[in-house]
Symmetry: C2
Subunit: 219 residues, 2 copies
DNA sequence: CGCATAACGCACTATCTAGTTACTTCTTAA
DNA sequence: TTAAGAAGTAACTAGATAGTGCGTTATGCG
């Protein structure tokens, strides 16, 4: 790819020498990567600026502070997974299928986006002070919880699922059995004396998780 | 409590003006607390020294480096939980009871020792480089996995549990459903719009988790 | 074109931070 | 009792580190 900017067309958008949106995006990408790798405390603003091929001054110009930058990064991370979940169109599937699809999706999302997990860990280390401020995240969360509630209700009506399951508990459990495995893959591989990230190990875990959830909800 | 050291008896041990063991312990306690609160990258050696009422030089004298200090802290953390698990004497219980007891214990251990979780998160952020070096942790882990294997085997023989369950997967799942809830209690409380640390919420979660595990293993 | 504005960059500061140097004070074994 | 080693301290260093002040250059609008 040609990194030299010019004024010719490029994917329908004009290439510019100076492009605020593009710079912001580069900063956000670099920040996501560095925050995920080193945590909020361990990440370095200078490193993020260098990675983004942007001047550090720009970070402060666009995001105000290191905390402000993290705030935007974690917000985008949540909006991204919530948006991907909505695109699954689980309401079009049979309850059982919908649930299995959600377990699969969650697992694969964590696998493909391990930064998401590390960012969430970092955010919890800081007592969710950034997420607390984000109305966007709160709105998206409500939709997500409603989606799982609706699957559960349909499953109870169809006789597939037992009644009385708390959607929040189910949600937490679906996330937990994937999240824990991935976030603790390094210590886990030592404790269980096997490579938890081996292809077969990953497949086995996914099947185990689907089984766990189906057994949990079955009538 | 009297903080002024003297040479009188104190719990069978002589109080000293200078006590290497006591100082080491104070440093380790302070380090555990600060590493848990701020992560390895965010913790400050000066803060740890101050909290421990020790001179920073002592940290370097006893532990060599900040990393060396973390190494000892994480090692002790693992040995502590593994030792507590052994004391449950699960082999003396019926398989079902033993499993339930383990789920309860794990939950309560995380609740009472949230630093353990944060330390493990920090260690995984650093790709388990400290745990990797610890033979003590590896030995203790083997005993732990064997313990759960033995419960599973007994349960299969008694007809309570179904056959073919991978002990490692079960172990991971038992840890996951408690660990995730606790470690993400701050973001979780926002996403699910309820206080996850409320007494009733905690009890509900524990019962849900026991149910999840029993359904998972039942024949 | 030309000018106001937004994008960008350099070089700086004040403070912090892991680790060290060189020293004093206490403990204990012979 | 005493000498040698262990425990403990204060003050320091060299390099980071978040955040800024201020000047420069591109952009796009009238």
């Amino acid at each position: 790819m040609d990194a030299t900017p010019d004024k010719s067309k490029n994917g329908g958008k004009k290439r510019r020498l100076r492009d605020a949106e593009a710079t912001k995006l580069r900063i956000l990408e670099a920040a996501k990567s560095d925050f995920a790798k080193n945590g909020l405390g361990g990440a370095r603003v200078d490193v993020i600026a260098a990675k983004a091929k942007a001047n550090k001054r720009m970070i402060y110009h666009y995001f105000g502070s290191k905390d402000g930058l993290f705030q935007t990064v974690i917000e985008n991370a949540y909006l991204d997974i919530r948006s991907a979940e909505q695109k699954l169109h689980l309401d079009d599937l049979e309850p059982r299928e919908a649930l299995e699809r959600l377990v699969r999706f969650t697992w694969q999302y964590y696998l493909k986006n391990p930064e998401f997990i590390t960012l969430v860990n970092s955010e919890n280390l800081h007592r969710a002070k950034h997420v607390k401020k984000s109305e966007l995240i709160k709105t998206a969360s409500r939709k997500f919880v409603a989606m799982v509630s609706s699957i559960l209700e349909r499953g109870v009506r169809s006789g597939d699922f037992r009644a009385g399951i708390d959607p929040a508990q189910l949600n937490i459990t679906i996330a937990a059995i994937g999240y824990y495995y991935i976030t603790n893959r390094f210590t886990g591989s030592i404790i269980f004396e096997r490579d938890l990230m081996d292809k077969n190990a990953l497949n086995e875990r996914l099947e185990f998780n689907i089984d766990t959830i189906i057994r949990l909800v079955s009538a």
